[in-house]
Each structure stands twice: as C-alpha cells, then as structure tokens.
C-alpha cells in the first residue's frame, strides 16, 4: 500500500482508467466537473480510447448505454440537475441490463438553484433499477469505483458510486491508489452476452405488451435484490486483493449499542467522532454507514440493528411523505421492537456541528425523534 496525496476526483478518474474503461461520456456540472476534467486529461494522454464531450447529460447516459450494448466498458460522472436530466435514460439503462458505472457527486436539486451537497439527486433515482453505493471518504470512492464495475458486470445492472459533492470531490487527502496490474487481475474483461454484433444479430430493447411487461420488471427487481450477495462477495474479494474489505452496511460499535445513528455519505465521519466520544463517557451508542442503498440491505439491517433505537440522519426529503431511508428502515426493522427515528435535513450544503449530533443521541434517550434536522424553524 502506497499513500498518495491526491484530489479525490483525480483519484476516481485514475481508478476508472485502471479499470480499462473503453468509452467515457460526460458533461460539465458542478461539483462533478473535476472528475470530468481529470477523465479528459487521462483521455488526451492515451489513458483510455474514447471520451465523448456530449451536449447534455441526457446524451452522456444515452451514449454510454449504446456503448455498453456494443460491448464497451463505460463510465461517467454527474450530479444534481445532470442526474435529474438523465432520469428517463437511467431507467432505460437498467431495463436494458447494461452495466454502466457512474460517479454521482451528490448535489442539491433546483429550485431554488443550489450547487452544494445533499443526497436528493440520487435518492430520487432510487426506483431506476440502478445499484447505488455511497462512500464516506475518497478512499472508499476509489475502491468502490473498481468494485462497481465488477458488481455491475456480474449483475448486468448499472451502478452509481455516490460521493458527496465538494466534501469529497474537491478535497485532497491521502489515498491508496490500487496498483494498475492488480486492478486488471481483480476485474475481468467486460463481456456483454447480448452484444450488438453484425455476426450474430440480436434485437435489444423490444417492447413488451401487458402479457410480458411485468415479467421483465420482476426479473429486474429480483436481480437487483440478488445483487446484494454480489456486492458482499466482491467486497470480500477486494479485501483479499487490496486489504480493505467492504460490505452492504458498515457497523461501528453497534453490537452492544442501545442507540445507533444510521446515515449515508461523508456526514458519517462527524457522527462517528461524536459516537466515539460518547462511548468514552460510557454511553452505549453506535453508528452505521448504509453503503448500499440499492439494493436495500433490509435483512442485514434487521439482523444487526433489530430491537435497538435506530435514528436515520438523511439529507433528502420526500415532500408530502416521510423521507425514503427512514421509510425503508422502518419497514426493515418492523416487529423487532426497534424504535426508528429520523432527522432529515442538512440540505443544499447546510452543515451540522458535532453538538447537533450529540444532541440527537441525547434526544434518543427520551424516545422516538422525528423531524427536520438543523431547521431554522423547529430545532431537533
């Protein structure tokens, strides 16, 4: 292992090139632009064969689904409005079972315009059929990009590698960039079994009438659910090859904890510091990082957090309903005797200090917590 001081975006682009991507298509949008720049820099120096500087994100994802269907390994980076513009084609990519991998630099969504971080953009793509893996630091982002290709190509499903915009895309840190040859050994070449090939003409993307349509959606759903095992297997293989093992959820001091905060992304790091400090004072608190949001690891969460008071800190909303991670976690822990709480907020770059999380752990002692987090109106 050799640590390099590097900007995370550059590290992610390098990791993608080590994965021998054939075609990259990307469009500028803050804060994923640095990844796009770094990809282009690699391309112009022969790092990979094709970079398509598209005219919109919708064409970025569309061209990659075409390239993937023609047998190419593909990669892109986008966020916020860019991901929203891709929405329709995201569903098509998953429905056509094409393992495109994309870095999503999580960003707020308009209106009002806001370029800063939360996770509303990827959360509202949750029904698109994509695998969604969240990263809490630059090292995880690099490692997850490499794993994502293997997972996606085994499951024949596209995968998003979600990392917080600015916090992770624009920060410089010490990252272990895996060795290029070891990456090549870890990741076999991409083979699309339904490749577009004049020697063996196939029809890809036939339309389906009511008698057939639901079967396709059931298959997609079952395969996305089954990809949980693939994520675990690949996470273990990665551990063997590179010394850092990954799973669906990372549990930190959860076994004997009575209170656990579950979250996604880089905000985890602050909560872990707070939880460790409380532990030192004798409080039985833990933290969990939900690495895989799609597939949603319900059984894993139930086995590890059932019966505990679990609070979700999530940076996304579902106007007119409860936020999605809370809703899904509530379903996963139903009947275990768990209390499930939620603090939703930190939207559009709003930040929380350590005290805010200390106060959350404190509030949990009195029972269920549910509401906006760091709101100017009602403070949790």
């Amino acid at each position: 292992m050799a640590l390099t001081t590097i900007n995370n975006s550059a590290a992610i682009a390098l990791a993608a090139s080590y994965c021998k991507v054939d075609v990259v298509a990307s469009y500028p949008i803050t804060p994923s632009t640095p990844i796009t720049h770094e990809l282009d820099k690699l391309y112009v120096n022969g790092g990979f064969p094709k970079f398509i500087p598209v005219e919109a994100e919708f064409s970025a994802i569309s061209s990659l689904l075409g390239a993937s269907a023609a047998g190419a390994r593909t990669f892109s980076a986008t966020c916020g409005q860019g991901l929203m513009l891709m929405h329709e084609a995201l569903f098509s990519t998953a429905g056509l079972r094409l393992p495109v991998v994309m870095a999503v630099a999580n960003r707020a969504i308009s209106s009002p315009l806001n370029i800063w971080n939360d996770e509303q953009d990827s959360m509202c793509q949750r029904d698109s059929g994509w695998i969604q893996l969240y990263c809490k630091n630059g090292q995880e982002a690099v490692d997850t990009v490499i794993q994502a290709f293997k997972i996606a190509e085994k499951a024949m499903l596209p995968a998003m590698v979600c990392l917080d915009g600015f916090y992770l895309t624009h920060s410089v840190g010490q990252v272990d960039i895996p060795d290029r040859d070891k990456v090549a050994a870890f990741l076999p070449p991409y083979k699309n079994p339904c490749v577009l090939d004049p020697q063996n003409p196939l029809t890809v993307g036939a339309y389906a009438v009511p008698a057939d349509y639901q079967d396709f959606r059931e298959d997609l759903s079952a395969d996305l659910e089954a990809s949980a095992r693939t994520i675990e297997e690949v996470g273990k293989e990665f551990g063997k090859a590179f010394g850092r093992e990954y799973g669906l959820v990372e549990y930190h001091n959860c076994k004997d904890a009575d209170r656990v905060i579950v979250t996604l992304g880089s905000v985890y790091n602050t909560i872990e510091l707070v939880a460790d400090a409380l532990r030192a004072k004798g409080e039985k608190v833990g933290v969990a990082h939900l690495r895989s949001f799609r597939p949603f690891p319900a059984a894993d969460l139930r086995a590890n957090l059932g019966g505990k008071h679990v609070l979700v800190v999530e940076r996304d909303i579902s106007p007119g309903a409860v936020p999605p991670v809370y809703a899904e976690l509530s379903e996963a822990l139903a009947g275990t005797g768990s209390t499930v709480s939620v603090a939703a907020g930190l939207l559009g770059g709003r930040e929380a200090k350590r005290q805010a999380f200390e106060s959350l752990f404190e509030r949990m002692k009195q029972g269920k917590v549910k509401g906006w987090f760091c709101s100017k109106e009602k403070k949790l």
Partner: protein
C-alpha cells in the same frame, strides 16, 4: 432455399399499415446497407411495428432505448466499435420526424457537431403517426393534425416545416441529403454514398403516412412522387458543403401544388387563397434552393426564355 422475402433484412411480418411508405423505406434502406450494420431505432411506428417481444423484424443487430436519444445511443455505439478496433460496421439511426426534428433534435445536433461516425436516417412522414396524428416540426404549413386542428379561429398548422437538411448541412458534416421513397434508385444511391463516407451523415427520406395525411394506402407512392414534382419537398444533397439538386424537375415542367394537396384529407379545408399561399411558399423555397445549388431561379429561367 431462400425466398425473395427472406433476403430482405427488414423481414416481412412487421405490422405496418397497408401502403406504409416508411416500412418500404426501411426495406429499401436496409437492403442497400447490407448486413454489416447496427441499427438504433427511436420510439415510433417503425419500432412498434417491428419489435414486439418476443418477435423482431430485424435481421441485423438492433437496439431501441427511448424516443429522443437515438442519435446519442448511436454516438456511443460508434465510439465503442472504434474503441474496440472495428472500423467497418456502419452505425445507422432510423428515426421518424418527431424523433428527429423535435424531441431528439438536441442529441442529433450534438452528434453532428462532434461529427460522430453515424449514418442518421429520418423517415419523414411529416407528423406524429404513432401517437395518433399530431403536428411535428416537419408538418407543412396549413396541415390539419390533432394538435393543429381546423376551427373557427385557427386553421391548421401556423408555421412552416423545418429545413432539416439545411440545418444538418450547416453543422459542416460531410453529407446531408433529402430523398423520397417514390424514387427508390435515389434512396439507394444516397444511402450507399453515405455509407461509403465517415463522420456524421444525415438523410431525410420523404415517406408519407396514408393514415395520418388522409389518403388511400394505394396512393402512397403517387403522393410521395408529387411532393417532389410539385416542389413541396425538393430532393437535393449537400456533400462537403456543396449543394446539388438530385432530380431536376425543370421549372416549366413543375406541377401545381394543388395536385399534391388535393389528394390528402389534411389539406381538405384549404381555400384557393391557402393553395396559392402554399404555392408561393413552395416556389420561394425552390428558388432559394436553386441559389444554393448554383442553378437558375424561375426568374432567371424566364429571362433566359425571353431572350
């Protein structure tokens, strides 16, 4: 033993209407291109007619994703093929005018600006047929469609059709051409010429919809032929920026637009005034095209004849 029908790369058994000119266009285009192609199809009649799971009329590799992204999907396939060292397979988009002139126009423009190695074929029936006859950017002035109906305040489409091939040519691509399914030799020649070139190539093929325009399916080719003969849809090509007229109908031999309009229900509401307005538009566009082609305009021809 192979029959004639088995030799077509767009196989029989598709569900095109009787007299469907776009279906005939597909048969002609695919047979001209041969087997070493990958087809990207935009959502539309031709997609619905040809690819109901588990059947397919395509004897060549085929992909359909969405309505508005065919050009971008093709850009990606082309990039993938070239990245993998395949420099021979032709990537062909087949899309209707709704997908081309309207909803997929941004992706098409991007593809052309990058000069991606794609042959883009639009079968142009001047309306949204699959959704039940609405106006598109290709619908001509005055046409009655379900989104440009004829009422007491409004009478059919109020704007003109887009000059798609001129717009395509203005991107500086190597080849852009207007063809017409009534002139099968012209379709074949243009498709083959385009296939032999590299970069973005765009061919718009006039192929009227009997159901949508309101004429009997037995008249499709007649209607299509008249579109060229009456100057409603002149045929030309733009090769590396140079405009060339394809089928030279001399000004004196042109047919009046009424011959074309009167065959179709969509122009049934036209008054003599409307007809002369359309005639003027057709002549104006023709003369504009003559200038681009470096050929004499009506005025110049008349002056020549006087001498």
């Amino acid at each position: 033993m192979s029959t004639q029908s088995e030799m077509h790369l767009y196989a029989p058994g598709h569900s095109g209407c009787p007299g469907c000119a776009p279906s005939l266009t597909l048969i002609t285009v695919l047979d001209a291109l041969g087997k070493d192609i990958i087809v990207v199809n935009a959502t539309g009649c031709m997609e619905i007619n040809s690819s109901q799971y588990p059947n397919s009329a395509w004897r060549v590799p085929y992909i359909h994703s969405l309505f508005e992204n065919a050009a971008a999907v093709a850009s990606g396939i082309s990039a993938a093929l070239r990245a993998k060292g395949n420099d021979h397979t032709t990537v062909v988009v087949i899309a209707g005018d709704g997908a081309t002139y309207d909803i997929g126009f941004g992706a098409l423009s991007g593809m052309m600006e990058r000069n991606d190695d794609v042959l883009y074929i639009c079968y142009d029936n001047e309306l949204y047929a699959n959704t039940g006859v609405q106006k598109s950017g290709a619908t001509p002035f005055g046409a009655n469609t379900n989104t440009t109906q004829v009422g007491s305040k409004h009478r059919g489409k109020e704007g003109d059709r887009k000059a798609l091939i001129e717009i395509a040519a203005a991107h500086g691509i190597p080849y852009a051409a207007q063809s017409n399914i009534a002139f099968i030799h012209d379709v074949r020649a243009k498709v083959k010429k385009a296939q032999g070139m590299r970069g973005s190539r765009v061919i718009n093929i006039f192929a009227p919809c009997a159901l949508g325009a309101g004429f009997d399916g037995s008249q499709s080719i007649k209607v299509a032929r008249l579109a060229a003969q009456t100057r409603m849809c002149p045929m030309f090509e733009v090769e590396n920026g140079e405009y060339k007229l394809s089928v030279n109908v001399a000004p004196a031999q042109k047919k009046p637009v009424l011959e074309y309009l009167s065959l179709q229900q969509r122009f049934k509401h036209f008054t003599p005034d409307d007809v002369s307005k359309v005639q003027m538009k057709a002549d104006k566009y023709w003369n504009h095209l003559m200038k681009l082609c470096g050929l004499p305009t009506d005025e110049q021809v008349a002056a020549q004849e006087k001498k």
